[in-house]
């Protein structure tokens, strides 16, 4: 099995969180990894016997994506993408600059044949049900209707291969369930989705369906998708804080918390964005996982698990085949 290239320099907690997550994956899963970073970071790891690639530069969080990928050719991020491009690695994982990770994947790894625009797929956990995949959740802030068909096809393959949903129900995000409701993009894309191959299109879905059991894959433009994702992130945080604050208030607060916490932890764990290790850029010729900037060791570990699973399932080939149909 081909190794996965890990950008050791990316993320708010890099390199320590990345090192910890990578070491855990190697220990527990014998994960084949290439650790890519500066001499200072990966030198000691090489001495410990890990496979490393030394890069002399680092793309910082605030760097401009396109120009940093062009100018910092010996950065850890660009080196990761090149390892995928040259067939040395099945995929890459970075918790660094999201835009630069996308740009390096696009420019260095390249698109799959026929894919107009790669898109970011994000897995939304749904308590009590299977997760929902939202695609595009941030790569393309303006999209054309035919691209949404490809997003639907790629999201279907992703839902099937990652989550095991055999025939994922695909909905297009709109403002009203009835056919004909929505903005111009939705109205144009709807009839294309109806006749598209290799998807199970169920029509319009609404915001309230994102975290429900009603749909498996939701297609939308990357602006709306990103807003949805961050709205969920923010509201869950605010609500969790309010609930724990309320339960813990008053004289009996600590007693109630002691009783309630063990019951609530599984829900929090399910909602934890670290569970799936990050968002996936679908449509490039390899696996590209873009983890949250604040990724913990657990998030990195889970990203590695996900990338190994998808490499085993030969995700890129299946995506290419689905979009060709």
């Amino acid at each position: 099995m081909l190794p996965v290239a890990i950008d050791m320099m990316g993320g708010d907690n890099a390199p320590s969180a990345v090192i910890e997550g990578a070491k855990r994956a190697i220990d527990e899963l014998h994960a084949p990894l290439i650790l890519v970073g500066t001499q200072e970071v990966v030198g000691p790891l090489a001495k410990e016997g890990f496979e490393v690639v030394v890069a002399s530069e680092v793309i910082e969080m605030h760097d401009d994506p396109a120009s940093s990928v062009r100018n910092k050719r010996d950065s850890s991020l660009v080196r990761c993408a090149e390892l995928v491009k040259t067939g040395m690695a099945s995929g890459m994982i970075s918790a660094g600059n999201t835009g630069a990770a996308m740009a390096s994947a696009l420019l260095k790894i390249g698109r799959l044949p026929k894919v107009a625009r790669p898109a970011i797929a994000t897995v939304i956990p749904v308590p009590g049900s299977t997760p929902t995949v939202v695609i595009d959740s941030g790569a393309n802030s303006e999209v054309m209707a035919p691209w949404l068909v490809q997003f639907a096809q790629m999201g279907t393959v992703y839902s099937r291969e990652l989550l095991g949903i055999e025939k994922p129900r695909v909905g297009i995000l709109s403002i009203g369930e009835e056919r004909g409701k929505g903005n111009q993009l939705v109205k144009e894309a709807f009839p294309l989705l109806e006749v598209a191959n290799s998807i199970n299109f169920i029509g319009n879905v609404e915001g309230r369906d994102v975290m429900s059991e009603n749909v498996d894959v939701i297609v939308c433009d990357g602006f709306v998708g990103n807003v949805v994702l961050k709205t969920l992130e923010g509201s869950m945080k605010t609500l969790a804080k309010a609930i724990f604050g309320a339960l813990g208030s008053g004289e009996d607060g600590s007693k109630i918390l002691d009783l309630a916490l063990p019951k609530l932890f599984p829900i929090l764990d399910q909602l934890d964005p670290d569970t799936h290790g990050g968002a996936m850029l679908l449509g490039v010729n390899g696996i590209c996982i873009i983890s949250h900037g604040s990724s913990s060791p657990k998030a990195i570990y889970n990203a590695i698990v996900t990338s190994m699973r998808l490499a085993e399932h030969d995700l890129a080939a299946k995506l290419a085949k689905s979009v060709l149909l």
Copy 2:
């Protein structure tokens, strides 16, 4: 004080929920109301001494908005709008067909001077902080950049008059905090908002800020706004169900629920969409509250409270003045 016209026929629970909410407002607040509905519904209310207007038709939930407003001229909804138009009422409230309520307000009441497009403002409760107003949350699925400036001006007046926030912070919903991030609409609107009168513009905000203390008024197109609103609605429901299910599970479940529920009720109450009684169509020459289809008597009561408060504050005049600046 001018009365408020209430559509007695609108909503899933009409007329009983509307009657109950209206009677409570009359009892408790001596609210001046005109109850508008069919003879069958308002006849008995007239005998009880309430002020009524009889309408012979009803616009149903599934009716086409524009054509039903044109064709059902003697419907309760159209009669409500006419009462506002002719100065007999300060505002109207309906929990019926949202599109038809908007259409009747637009066609019958008419726009305020200089307002390009009326927009729906919705109050998002934020546990632990003041609520956030999202405008447009559904009236215009495609918008032009200058309209967003008017949405910002109207949202500012609404936040101030309804919620008492003296100098509301206005953000434009985008995907990234930095200037320059976003789609074409955001990029065009940003510089217009920077130089606009009578608003306190703080720049881009993200989905995670909707339910936070970071911003008071969020402007966006009605497609994105509606998706955000319904995403929150759905996720809160799913999460609340999961939390109560988890707390109540196991042998000690009922004991834990007994202890936890009194602590959690205030949060649920704050999050209850019925608390503010509905969304407000801003930019028409009067008050127009569009309540949720599933409105309870409490929602109707709160809508009446809101409409009275805004009428006292002379909302329409203040909106007109703000947009003129």
